[in-house]
């Protein structure tokens, strides 16, 4: 099947479920493990990831197809993408800090974390490898971010519950048990496979 003929909406849902960037590709693990201790901050980080990935995906699509490809500089994509993501995050942080303190407190403080988040970068690389169109990459960015946010919120929910009720053996406390949970969650997400296919 020709990839460019897939409807963006399908790509959006696939990015959340069958191709969840966190649970199928295990990208963005560091902040996923570090910030998933409580639901509130994990939601904040999740929303920030959705925001950044939704905007950087099409932005980098433009940089790749309108700047790098015409000059035959595809091999510089890594540098270009990182610079674009970093600059975008910087500008957004400045604007948010100026416009709304409340928004800055809930979203802004996570933005610097995201600059170096591999989920964002992975999302951009996938849309290049899979040769998405512009519209598809917007849908994919939004979907990948949403999928990541969903996964971190789920893990945070499980971890807060577990902290109250279950006893974890000392050796597995913290990141250890979080990784085990992530593994089980990832297996559960395999259940989605077959619904849609985008790569």
């Amino acid at each position: 099947m020709d990839i460019q003929s897939i409807h963006p909406l399908v790509i959006f849902f696939a990015a959340i479920t069958t191709n969840n960037i966190l649970l199928t590709n295990f990208l963005g693990m560091c902040s996923f493990l570090a910030v998933s201790k409580d639901l509130k901050s994990s939601l904040g980080l999740g929303v920030a990831v959705i925001f950044v990935s939704t905007f950087t995906a099409p932005l980098n699509w433009l940089v790749y197809h309108k700047l790098l490809v015409p000059y035959g500089l595809e091999y510089l994509q890594y540098i270009a993408f990182i610079i674009v993501i970093a600059a975008f995050v910087q500008i957004i942080e400045m604007i948010i800090e100026r416009v709304s303190t409340l928004l800055y407190l809930t979203l802004g403080i996570f933005l610097p974390l995201i600059t170096v988040n591999c989920a964002i970068f992975g999302c951009v690389l996938f849309l290049v490898i899979r040769q998405y169109t512009f519209m598809q990459s917007i849908a994919y960015g939004l979907g990948a971010g949403t999928g990541w946010a969903l996964a971190i919120a789920a893990l945070a929910g499980i971890r807060t519950r577990m902290e109250k009720k279950s006893k974890v053996i000392a050796e597995l406390e913290g990141p250890g048990i979080a990784l085990v949970i992530t593994g089980i969650m990832a297996m559960a997400f395999i259940g989605f496979s077959g619904i849609v296919k985008i790569n």
Partner: protein, 366 residues
């Protein structure tokens, strides 16, 4: 065009474009114009450029809040009250603030940005913190690894400090050390002697500033000092005083005793236990003996922990010597200064003799 040049041009154009975008954004969004910082309800009004954090904004105006980590939000010492204009409490501040402090709007100066006119309250003595470009007047070798240095303040300038406080000494770049570094040292001179200050410095192997002091400083050299800082000073009560120090910890105690003499405080008994290993680690003995002779309220007890030679001083660990001197310490106050190990051990002995923790004050040298 060769591919290399194309690559360079394209990437430069991309980064250049983004940089311009960032600069434009900074101009529009991070430019907060000139703002006013009101210190202690009008006592001092500072006109500053907005956008930076409060700690560095104040430092640029020569108002120095204490800061251990240099503004990274990891030590929690740069606290000050923000009466108005500080914005909501940030998640980066909460771990360092108690409920009481949150209620009285205490904030971490390194975390809040100065975006609009702001009203703050700092302890009165912080306003007396200044930067001094001093000249070294005298260097005295006290022991094999302890030196006393007297710094003369610039002509016409004076320093106002409480006996027991410390100052930060800045080393200039030397050998492989390329940066200016600073370390805190207790002031050993009396507050009355306000045209100069004396510090007692013990050599720390490979210490950045002490190496500079021991290997490079000469009399007549110019050195930067900022101070005074610190919460270690004589409390205003009528209680009898127990001072315990080891090594260079003698400095603030000497300042406190000299200050008591200058202020004519003779209704409080004071005993100074000075712990050392052997006789050659003692210094200022003559001076304290002299004070003991002239002031009946003062007693000086040097103690040597590992010196079997014939000497007139107490023998044994400082903690044992202190313990053997007192039976009940409930109504006394203690001032401790030295290594963390010594202070913890002394605190244990003092509390076991009935001294409440609130009456023990210390300055840990670490």
């Amino acid at each position: 065009m060769s591919p290399i040049i194309t690559a360079i041009v394209v990437i430069s154009a991309l980064t250049g474009g983004l940089t311009i975008l960032l600069l434009i954004a900074e101009f529009f969004f991070a430019n907060y114009g000139e703002v006013t910082v009101d210190v202690n309800a009008g006592e001092k009004t500072l006109k500053v450029k907005g956008g930076a954090n409060l700690l560095s904004t104040l430092a640029s105006q020569k108002l120095f809040l204490p800061s251990g980590c240099g503004g990274r939000g990891s030590c929690g010492t740069c606290k000050c009250r923000v009466v108005d204009g500080g914005g909501p409490l940030l998640p980066t501040e909460t771990p360092y603030l108690s409920d009481e402090e949150r209620k009285t709007s205490v904030r971490l100066a390194c975390q809040i940005k100065v975006k609009n006119d702001i009203k703050i309250q700092v302890p009165e003595e912080l306003l007396s913190i200044k930067e001094f470009e001093t000249v070294i007047e005298k260097i005295t070798d006290f022991t094999h690894d302890i030196k006393g240095i007297r710094f003369k303040l610039p002509e016409g300038e004076t320093i106002k400090f409480k006996a027991g406080q410390f100052a930060n000494l800045f080393s200039k770049p030397y050998d492989e050390v390329r940066e200016e570094t600073s370390r805190a040292y207790s002031i050993s001179s009396a507050p009355k002697d306000n045209k100069a200050i004396e510090l007692i410095i013990r050599y720390v192997p490979n210490g950045m500033v002490t190496t500079y002091v021991f290997k490079h400083l000469k009399e007549g050299d110019k050195v930067k000092l900022i101070g005074p800082f610190g919460e270690f000073f004589l409390r205003d009560t009528d209680r009898e005083i127990v001072c315990i120090a080891g090594g260079s910890g003698l400095a603030p105690i000497r300042s406190i005793i000299l200050d008591m003499i200058d202020r004519g405080i003779s209704n409080r008994k004071a005993t100074f236990f000075f712990g050392a290993v052997t006789k050659k680690d003692l210094y200022y003995v003559e001076e304290f003996k002299e004070i003991e002779k002239n002031h009946p309220w003062f007693r000086f007890v040097p103690a040597l922990s590992r010196d079997d030679s014939d000497h007139p001083y107490s023998k044994g660990l400082i903690t044992d010597v202190v313990a053997s001197n007192y039976s009940d310490l409930k109504n006394m106050e203690a001032y401790l200064c030295g290594s963390p190990g010594m202070i913890d051990a002394c605190e244990k002995v003092l509390t076991s003799k009935g001294m409440p923790k609130t009456q023990i004050f210390y300055d840990k040298f670490s």
